[in-house]
């Protein structure tokens, strides 16, 4: 349940009312306090005596919301090699990240400044390590600072989330993690919290980030206020839990401390989710300081809940847990964490059971799925390794492949739980494959380990590849982590620390011992005498490829022009495997799978590939733009109808959106305009019904009972203007009177009052002197030549032109 009484707890911090993710203040909106932080506070837990540090670009230690909780012993400047982690200030405020994360954990409560941290009585430090060259040494130093003093390390960074990077901790960091969980917190194990990646738009997968993918880190993802997948979120089987964070412009954001002693509600991504969970864990550690690093993970698995989070893959695993690839076990619940932590009894020691496949190469064929199975008893034969109830499951693979991004990998547990270890990634063109890369899933948590495991590898080529080169699964190893007894039913047993931490030895290899090199298998080729290597079994009548009587691969050319044998067809041709011939693609296609115009895969220069119908054309269809580098029609941003050179450089918008510069922003209701800096609809000036900004001179249309006068809306027309309704406009307008009129009651000659020095003659203002001096003969000529219609002559001949009609 959630308490939605805003007066239940109130703080005087100015942004307190904006902290919707902690409390409900708006009774008209649905309450979004499912993280139950308020309830944990009401039970008396605020993070007291718990030490958290933020590994980032520094921390503004004199920020009014951090200074009181700042802990110098939980801080260090690894970049500068000194104890002061103050960020380097520059004009772009580049180094604001650590300070923003820190506030979410431990901003001081009720100090009339900015916000309230989730663990507002915890001690907070910062390790400045991102503002310089980051190396294995820098990371390992940072993760190993005062492990007996610091309880929780929170990191919101990692390898690039560009959808093509596969990178993770180096050998020193792996050791630092292992050392931390073994010896940190005086043997209870350091707690490492990590933000899952922000590469959702790049199709990135957080299994390609070895930090979030590690069993030693608690990987945290984000959800929007309404439980939707934020645009930046990556799917991943190693995500353990979720907190709220920012989403689309219409979703409410998270507020936190900012550089230069300020507050911010800027976009936060997954970065803010890690410190939020670090704060929740701090509350749990206050409730029970003796819980281990594994207890914390069990607590999160048991207490996080799907609530209203929307994902199409929520499933119940055989361990009784509901889990998804977007949110892990769901939204964290601070109250449940402290309640469970308080009565928690340590889980049995962790065992590790490893089983490797044989070293037989298995081929991964294009557009097919390779299934490789492995049966395990969970090492029941060795008591020290026996895993009956699962925690993390790791699959280490050695895969050779010509385009890594085309691979999708799933793991099916003996109970039938399918985890996606890796999704297809459009941008990853690497031919490096995976060399002992470890994928991790938490989706089998609580299930039985024993039985048959299936690794499924699907290869779906996204572009033309050499069909001769098959992907190879060279080896895979299943590493099961868990307990031999039920983790929650054996609470009577006492477990010694030495047994609990049976972690494999550090992975640093001693000098001279290198990893076994990749075993590259030679592709076999047939040779027959002096024939060319591309000649088939019928031989040849000469040494060259065009002397072959048949080909082993493909023949190129015709009888007329002469045929030659080739291993691959050149650009502009496709490989007809049945006839073993290179056949021409349709005109305009560079690569294709058939000769029809809709079987292209890439296009010749000057043309663009249209993915909708696999054809090549000079222009792209509506909703797509021509990408000059990829020579493809790529989709415009979902809000654009037309765009130019880039998906988010819009030139026309979908229904419900309008163009602001080159961005499609939502159309705002009458009386409001879209504020680009605040990314929300803001009210116009009261005189406007539609506008482009908040000022009174930025009206497009006037409010009811207002008239438009020279780009302003007024209630009555100023002197020198008359009220009129020009044809074609519904808008009432104040139009200017004729020149020299002080007031008028309509257009043209309808003056009622003139400026000084002018006389009113027949509702026109005439300069006194000019009129008096007019020559009558001259004026008669003016009148007879119809020159009275000209203002100049009318002024000279006012009597003739006006008074005498």
């Amino acid at each position: 349940y959630t308490r939605n009484d805003p007066n239940f707890i109130h703080f005087n911090d100015p942004k307190w009312s904006n902290m919707w993710y902690i409390h409900c203040t708006d009774k008209n909106n649905r309450c979004r306090s499912e993280m139950n932080i308020l309830a944990a506070w009401q039970r008396g837990y605020t993070g007291r005596n718990v030490v958290v540090t933020i590994l980032d670009d520094g921390i503004e230690r004199n920020h009014p919301d951090l200074a009181q909780n700042y802990d110098q012993l939980a801080s260090y400047d690894v970049n500068g090699n000194d104890p002061d982690p103050t960020p380097r200030y520059d004009s772009s405020n580049e180094n604001k990240h650590g300070t923003r994360c820190a506030g979410e954990v431990a901003a001081v409560a009720n100090n009339s400044h900015c916000i309230v941290g989730i663990a507002y009585n915890a001690r907070i430090g910062g390790i400045r390590m991102l503002d310089g060259d980051v190396t294995d040494v820098v990371e390992a130093k940072s993760l190993g600072i005062r492990p007996d003093y610091i309880d929780i390390y929170s990191a919101s960074w990692g390898p690039d989330d560009d959808g093509k990077t596969v990178d993770g901790p180096g050998p020193l960091v792996k050791q630092a993690f292992e050392m931390g969980i073994k010896k940190g917190r005086k043997g209870l194990g350091s707690i490492f919290v990590w933000a899952s990646g922000n590469g959702g738009r790049q199709g990135d997968h957080c299994s390609c980030d070895g930090y979030t993918n590690s069993i030693y880190t608690i990987s945290i993802s984000s959800t929007t206020e309404n439980g939707n997948k934020p645009w930046y979120l990556e799917v991943c089987s190693s995500t353990l839990a979720t907190t709220y964070s920012s989403g689309e412009f219409y979703d409410r954001k998270i507020v936190t401390t900012d550089l230069r002693q300020r507050c911010t509600d800027g976009h936060t991504g997954t970065s803010v989710s890690a410190p939020m969970v670090a704060g929740v864990i701090a509350l749990a550690l206050e409730a029970n300081p003796l819980i281990t690093w594994r207890d914390v993970q069990h607590l999160l698995v048991r207490t996080s809940r799907p609530v209203h989070l929307k994902a199409n893959d929520w499933k119940n695993n055989a361990g009784g847990h509901r889990v998804s690839h977007l949110y892990g076990f769901g939204l964290v619940d601070a109250e449940a964490m402290v309640v469970e932590a308080k009565k928690w009894r340590r889980v049995p020691p962790q065992h590790t059971c490893t089983k490797a496949s044989d070293r037989r190469t298995r081929y991964i064929r294009a557009d097919q799925t390779l299934n490789s199975t492995m049966s395990t008893s969970g090492c029941s034969e060795q008591a020290e390794q026996h895993v009956s109830y699962l925690e993390h499951v790791v699959v280490r693979v050695v895969i050779a492949h010509q385009r890594r991004g085309d691979l999708e990998i799933n793991l099916v547990s003996p109970s039938g739980t399918r985890s996606q270890l890796l999704a297809k990634r459009l941008f990853d063109n690497s031919y490096e494959g995976f060399r002992n890369w470890e994928f991790m899933t938490v989706h089998c948590w609580g299930e039985k380990a024993e039985g048959q495991w299936t690794l499924e590898i699907t290869d779906s080529p996204s572009q033309l590849r050499n069909p001769e080169v098959l992907g190879k699964l060279k080896e895979w190893t299943l590493i099961l982590y868990g307990t031999s007894e039920h983790p929650y039913q054996s609470h009577g047993a006492q477990h010694s620390r030495s047994r609990m931490l049976e972690i494999p030895n550090p992975s640093l290899e001693p000098k001279g011992l290198e990893r076994p090199t990749e075993h590259h298998e030679e592709e076999e080729e047939e040779y027959s005498g002096t024939c060319h290597s591309e000649c088939g079994d019928q031989g040849c009548d000469g040494p060259d490829a065009d002397h072959c009587l048949n080909c082993i691969h493909y023949s190129l050319g015709s009888l007329k022009t002469g045929r030659t044998c080739v291993s691959h067809c050149p650009l502009g041709y496709h490989e007809d495997s049945g006839a073993r011939r290179c056949r021409r693609c349709h005109k305009g296609c560079e690569r294709c799978v058939g000769r029809s115009p809709t079987e292209c895969q890439s296009c010749r220069r000057g043309l663009y590939f249209n993915p909708l119908n696999s054809s090549c054309s000079e222009t792209c269809p509506l909703g797509y733009f021509a990408d000059e580098i990829q020579r493809q029609c790529l989709k415009c941003h979902e809000n654009c109808v037309k765009c130019l050179r880039d998906s988010d450089r819009c030139t026309a918008c979908n229904e419900g959106f309008s163009l602001a510069g080159m961005t499609c922003v939502p159309k705002c209701s009458n009386g409001t305009f879209f504020h680009l800096e605040e990314m929300k609809c803001s009210p116009c000036h009261t005189s406007c019904s539609t506008c482009t900004g908040p000022g009174k001179e930025e009206c497009i249309q006037c409010a009811r009972d207002f008239l438009q006068q020279e780009w302003r809306c007024v209630q009555t027309c100023a002197p020198g203007y008359f009220s009129g309704e020009p044809a074609g406009y519904t808008q009432h307008m104040c139009r200017k009177c004729e020149e020299n009129c002080l007031s008028c009651d309509g257009p043209g000659t309808s003056c009622t009052k003139c400026k000084d020095g002018y006389n009113l003659f027949s509702r026109t203002c005439i300069v006194n002197a000019t009129c008096n001096n007019a020559d009558e003969l001259f004026c008669e000529m003016v009148k007879s030549n119809r020159l009275c219609e000209k203002k100049l002559f009318r002024q000279f001949c006012c009597r003739t032109c006006l008074m005498t009609g």
């Binding site: 980032d56 670009d57 090699n81 990240h97 991102l130 060259d133 980051v134 190396t135 294995d136 040494v137 990371e139 390992a140 130093k141 940072s142 993760l143 190993g144 600072i145 492990p147 919101s156 960074w157 990692g158 390898p159 690039d160 989330d161 990077t165 990178d167 180096g170 050998p171 020193l172 050791q175 630092a176 050392m179 931390g180 010896k183 940190g184 933000a195 990646g197 922000n198 991504g269 997954t270 970065s271 690497s430 490096e432 640093l508 290899e509 001693p510 000098k511």
Partner: protein
């Protein structure tokens, strides 16, 4: 193409025998010992001021003989690891 490695003028070195031994070895090969790497025992952070701060190739010179010293069980020139704030 895979991104190219960027080598720094920092090394991680594993030396048994304590800080004094590490200092001696650092001096012998021209390094500056910046101390133990976090809580990793026997692992030291060495810096060489006469090696370019960033290079496309690993550094070669008399200092690189450190990895052959019998008292050094492991050493590694540090690479820049591109890291992104989330």
């Amino acid at each position: 193409l895979p991104p190219r490695n960027v080598y720094t003028n920092h090394w991680a070195v594993r030396i048994e025998g304590g800080h004094e031994e590490a200092d001696k070895l650092a001096a012998k090969y021209g390094y500056n010992n910046l101390g133990q790497i976090g809580s990793l025992e026997d692992h030291y952070h060495f810096h060489h001021s006469h090696v370019v701060r960033r290079a496309a190739f690993s550094s070669r010179g008399t200092h690189s003989f450190i990895h052959m010293d019998p008292k050094v069980s492991w050493s590694e020139q540090q690479l820049v690891k591109p890291r992104v704030k989330r």
